[in-house]
C-alpha cells in the first residue's frame, strides 16, 4: 500500500493534529444499488431514447484500440453527429470503451473510472482481446475475459476494430439501450460481490476502497 493511503496523524494549517485514514475518510464506501425502471413504460422508453442518443464516452484509452477513436473525434467520421462525444472525466461520461486488452495495472484504473461514472452507464469491449484474451492470450499481465471484471453491454470484434465498426457498435448499443436491455450497471450492483472477488483475484495490491464513486 502506498504511503499516502496509510492512516496517519496530520497537522492541519491551524496547528491541530488529527488522525486521517484515507481509505475511510476520502472515499464513500457505500456499495452500488440497482436502479429500477420507472413505473410508466412510456416514460422509461423516453428515458432510454434520451440515454441512447447521448453516449458520452470517457476519454480513457486503455489499449491500442484508442487510436481508432481519434478519427471518430475528427471531421472525417465525426461521431458527434450521432450523439457520441468524448469527455475528460468519468463524472461526465456514461460510456466506458475498453479499447482492447487491459493489463492488470490498467484494470485497476478502469474499475475506478467505471465506478466513478454516473448510472445508467455502459461498457463496450473493443477488439478480440476483451473477448477471450486476443493475441495476448498467454500473457501474464493482461486479463482475458473482460466480463469477469466489468459488466459488458456490447463487444465489437476486430484487432483493432475500424472507426466504421465502432460507429456500427454505437448504433447497436443504442438499439440495446432503447430496448431497455443495457442493464450492465444494475448487473454490476446485483453481482457486486462476484465482480469484486474476480477483480481482487487479479489485482494483487488492492489499495483502494471496494467501491469508490
Amino acid at each position: 500500500m502506498k504511503d499516502e493511503l496509510k492512516p496517519r496523524i496530520v497537522k492541519g494549517p491551524d496547528g491541530i493534529e488529527f488522525e486521517v485514514d484515507p481509505l475511510r475518510d476520502y472515499y464513500c464506501e457505500a456499495s452500488p444499488s440497482v436502479h429500477p425502471p420507472v413505473y410508466v413504460k412510456i416514460v422509461e422508453d423516453f428515458f432510454n431514447w434520451a440515454r441512447s442518443e447521448s453516449l458520452w464516452i470517457l476519454g480513457f484509452g486503455t489499449g491500442c484500440g484508442a487510436i481508432e477513436m481519434r478519427p471518430l473525434m475528427t471531421p472525417r467520421f465525426d461521431a458527434y453527429r450521432f450523439g457520441v462525444q468524448w469527455r475528460p472525466t468519468p463524472r461526465q461520461a456514461n460510456l466506458l470503451m475498453i479499447s482492447g486488452y487491459l493489463s492488470t495495472k490498467t484494470l485497476k484504473r478502469a474499475i475506478r473510472s467505471y465506478e466513478q461514472m454516473q448510472s445508467p452507464k455502459y461498457v463496450v469491449g473493443l477488439g478480440s482481446c476483451t473477448i477471450n484474451g486476443g493475441m495476448y492470450w498467454d500473457s501474464y499481465n493482461t486479463i482475458k475475459k473482460l466480463d469477469e471484471y466489468l459488466p459488458v453491454d456490447l463487444y465489437i470484434v476486430g484487432c483493432m476494430p475500424r472507426p466504421e465498426a465502432l460507429l456500427q457498435g454505437f448504433e447497436d448499443l443504442k438499439q440495446i439501450i432503447r430496448a431497455g436491455k443495457a442493464e450492465g450497471a444494475n448487473q454490476y450492483a446485483e453481482k457486486f460481490e462476484w465482480y469484486k472477488a474476480n477483480q481482487k483475484k487479479v489485482i494483487h495490491d488492492w489499495d483502494m476502497p471496494d467501491y469508490n464513486w
Binding site: 494549517p13 484508442a66 481519434r70 478519427p71 475528427t74 493489463s103 490498467t106 484504473r109 500473457s139 499481465n141
Partner: protein, 392 residues
C-alpha cells in the same frame, strides 16, 4: 534567451541522502497525477507531479499500463509467429517493429531480401513516419489548446491510412513486412492515389504552418520552453528529432543507412534552439521530407521481380545461434531490435529499444523540474513518446 531551467540545486531542499525534502503535510506541496487517464496524445502513462504553487518540484514517470510482456511472449512463438505480434508494440507507428524484427531475423538466418521488397519496405516506413508525425503535430498543438490542428492532421493521416489499407490490407496493424520480404507488390493505380493524398497532405502542412507555427500563442508558449541542454544528449540517450532540435544531426537514415535510403536524396533536418518549438519545427520538416521521400521512392523503385526471398518452411524454421542489433530512424528517434537466437525455432531473447524509453523516463523526469504545470503536457508531447514501446 534560452536557459537551462532544469537545475534543481537550490530548490526544494534535499535530505542528506539526496532525496527531495518534500513534506506533503506541510501544505506547501501538492501531489498531482497526470494520467494514466490519457494526458492527451501521449497515450496511457502517467506523471506523478509534486507541485509547489504552479511549479513542478518533482516528477516521476509511471509506466506499465500497457505492458503485455511482448519480449516474453515472443520467446514462446516461432519466428513466423512473432511477425504478427511485433507491430503491436507501438501503435501509431507499428511498421518499424515489423521492419526491425524482420531485418534482425533475416540477418541471423543469412537471408537476402529482393530489391523490390527493400523499396516497398522503405515506402511503408516513410508512410508510417508521416502518420506518426501527423499525430504528433495534432497532439503538440492540442497540448496547448489549439485543437484544430489535430482535426486536420488526423484527416490527412486517415487518407494515408487508406493508402495503407489498399497496399497492406489493414489500417493500423499492417503486418505486411514479414521475414523474407513483404507480402505483395503495390496495387494497381496506387501511385496516382498516393499522389493525390500527398497533395492534400502538402496543403494541410501549409495550413499547419500558418495556424500553428505562425501563431503568436503557440510561439510564445513554446519558444524557449522545454529546453534540453545538448550536452545532456549522450547522458540520456537522446536521439531523433529531439536531438536534431538541439542542433545534433543524428539520423540513422544518414549515419548508418539501411534499406533504400542510400539511393534517396534528403537533408537531415536540424534546428538550433532545443526547445519545444525547435523540436516541433524539425518534425514538421520531417513530415514534408517524408512526402518528398515517398515521391522519390515511387519514382525510383523497381516494379518487377519477387518481393519474397526463397525461404525455408516457416513452420519449422530454425536459426543458428547468434545475436544482432538492427536499428532504424523512426519518427521519434532510434528504434532498434536486439535479437538473440540459440539455434532453436524460437528467439532466445528479443529486446525492443524504443526512443521513448529514454525520453519519457530519465530525461523527462529531469526536464520537468521547475516546469510550469501548464507546460507539462506540451513538454511531454514535445518528446514525442509512445508509452507502449517503453513497457512493451
Amino acid at each position: 534567451m534560452v536557459q537551462d531551467l532544469s537545475d534543481r540545486s537550490q530548490y526544494p531542499a534535499r535530505n542528506r541522502d539526496g532525496t527531495l525534502d518534500v513534506d506533503l503535510t506541510s501544505g506547501k506541496y501538492l501531489k498531482l497525477w497526470q494520467g494514466p487517464n490519457h494526458p492527451g496524445i501521449t497515450g496511457n502513462m502517467s506523471v506523478e507531479l509534486t507541485v509547489c504553487g504552479d511549479e513542478v518540484v518533482e516528477g516521476k514517470t509511471h509506466v506499465g499500463y500497457l505492458h503485455r510482456g511482448f519480449e516474453k511472449l515472443m520467446e514462446r512463438r516461432t519466428f513466423i509467429q512473432c511477425f504478427p505480434i511485433v507491430c503491436r508494440i507501438c501503435v501509431p507507428e507499428p511498421d518499424f517493429n515489423e521492419y526491425c524484427y524482420a531485418a534482425a531475423v533475416e540477418e541471423l538466418a543469412g537471408v537476402e531480401i529482393p530489391e523490390q521488397a527493400k523499396w516497398i519496405r522503405t515506402l511503408i516506413l516513410e508512410m508510417g513516419r508521416f502518420n506518426s508525425l501527423m499525430m504528433y503535430l495534432g497532439g503538440q498543438s492540442g497540448s496547448l489548446g489549439l485543437g484544430v490542428i489535430g482535426q486536420w492532421t488526423t484527416y490527412v493521416r486517415d487518407l494515408m491510412l487508406d493508402r495503407f489499407e489498399e497496399l497492406t490490407g489493414a489500417r493500423i496493424y499492417h503486418m505486411f513486412i514479414l521475414p523474407g520480404g513483404v507480402r505483395d507488390t503495390l496495387p494497381e493505380g496506387f501511385d496516382a492515389r498516393m499522389e493525390e493524398t500527398l497533395r492534400e497532405a502538402e496543403r494541410t502542412m501549409k495550413d499547419v504552418w500558418n495556424v500553428m507555427f505562425q501563431n503568436a500563442v503557440f510561439r510564445k508558449r513554446t519558444i524557449g520552453v522545454g529546453y534540453i541542454n545538448p550536452a545532456l544528449f549522450d547522458d540520456y540517450g537522446v536521439t531523433g528529432p529531439t536531438a536534431r532540435g538541439g542542433g545534433v544531426a543524428k539520423d540513422v537514415r544518414r549515419d548508418q543507412p539501411y534499406l533504400a535510403y542510400p539511393d534517396l536524396e534528403f537533408e537531415v533536418n536540424v534546428a538550433r534552439d532545443s526547445d519545444i518549438y525547435s523540436r516541433a519545427d524539425v518534425r514538421r520538416r520531417d513530415a514534408l521530407q517524408s512526402i518528398d521521400l515517398i515521391r522519390q521512392i515511387l519514382a525510383k523503385m523497381p516494379r518487377t521481380g519477387p518481393v519474397m526471398a526463397k525461404m525455408p518452411n516457416m513452420l519449422h524454421w530454425k536459426i543458428p545461434r547468434g545475436e544482432t542489433y538492427i536499428r532504424g530512424e523512426c519518427s521519434r528517434g532510434e528504434y532498434g531490435f536486439y535479437v538473440v537466437t540459440d539455434g532453436s525455432g524460437y528467439p532466445r531473447r528479443v529486446n525492443v529499444r524504443g526512443p521513448s524509453y529514454t525520453h519519457a523516463m530519465a530525461l523527462l523526469e529531469r526536464l520537468i523540474v521547475n516546469c510550469n504545470i501548464a507546460d507539462v503536457a506540451a513538454l511531454l508531447v514535445s518528446l514525442h513518446t509512445y508509452p507502449p514501446e517503453i513497457e512493451r
